[in-house]
């Protein structure tokens, strides 16, 4: 499982945790998140994120 970080606010999307509060189940891969999803902290689009190396 990978982590992705928002380019704007630093929010980290962890595939392991998902974003259940916004309909993204734990374990959801980044590729499988709909394009309509946006950063829960600052609202930017999915395309404005980049992968974090961990």
């Amino acid at each position: 499982m990978k982590k992705y970080q928002c380019n704007i606010c630093g929010f980290i999307y962890d595939e392991l945790l998902g974003d259940p509060a916004h309909g993204i189940e734990a374990g959801t891969r980044w590729e499988d998140i709909p394009e309509s999803w946006s950063c829960p902290e600052c609202g930017v689009n999915k395309t404005d994120f980049e992968m974090v190396e961990i």
Partner: protein, 383 residues
Amino acid sequence: MSQPIVIIGSGLAGYAVARELRRLTTDKAVVMVTADHGGFYSKPMLSNALSTGKTPESIINGDAEKMAAQLNITIYSHTRVEAVDTSNQSVELSNGERLSYSALVMAIGADQVRLPLQGSGVSKILTINDVDDYKHFRDVLVDKKRVAIIGAGLIGCEFANDLSATGYQVDVIDISPQPLGRLLPPEAGAYLQQKLEAVGVNFHFNMTVESVDQTDTMMQLRLTNGEKIETEIVLSSVGLTPRINLAKKAGLLVNRGIVVNQLLQTSDKNIFALGDCAEVEGKVLPFVMPITHAARALAATLAGKPTPVVYPAMPVLVKTPACPTVVAPPESGHAGEWRVESNGEGVKAVFQNNSGSLLGFALLGQATAMKNELATKLPPILN
């Protein structure tokens, strides 16, 4: 051919509008005019760049050239807009050129407030409002060990945590009795204070700085109680004031910020404003989330479909890793009271009116896990 949409400013707000507009339409010409280099970067990242191992250079995602190509826009960097001629729908640039616009977007941000202080070191006081300021700060920081920060608000606390966590001796001075005085009830403030003190931050509360003097290699702050703080760098972070002069000069309606309606439209129908410079329906909200919402609505409007901006509740994350904190401050003027529950692991503070409706909250430590659950119960900020 119709005149371009001209965006003044290349901060998050300016770029957010350009990006959202390009999602909707590829055939409208867009020109961005910016006083700085025009590179795209995330301003919120500046206040935790030391701990996250970022340099001013690595914070910039793309320079002006790359961004212009990516968004298919024209960028005038290191160029100021000197004046707006609303009757001819044109702007006068610092390079002498005149640009006509079909719509003008002011995304010009805010200035750091400067306190009137005495002393020989006042001109050496730093503020960090953009990546160039930050680069200067990092250059000055080399070989230094001690930093004093005036102001224990969001930015002050974030920088205090970042500097302290990376080995600097940090003093923070604030007139209020606690950190984040405008956002947290006292118990929550005390918790944050204790967590930041645990990573080494020295707070000086209920105090103002009387003077800042430069000695040989040091800076000396004298506080109202006579206390003296020896330090090497003084950073001021006492608040932001929207940049309204350009709008005012153009005869637009201004108040605290550039006054706009829910369409982000100023008193001139062809001129719009968003971000830290704008006062939307009476609200000045200098955070990222409102920019994102405003940019989407404005882009739709500029693309031909008038769309009022709607703000949901927008909790703000405070980047203090020593004490994870999320705040959704109640709107000023709303009657109600704080109810605070705390234990060693965190603080949950909710602000309710007398009928029990949730109007705001502050969550610290482990209580931040309740953010999403509580956020859905908050009233929208603008609908």
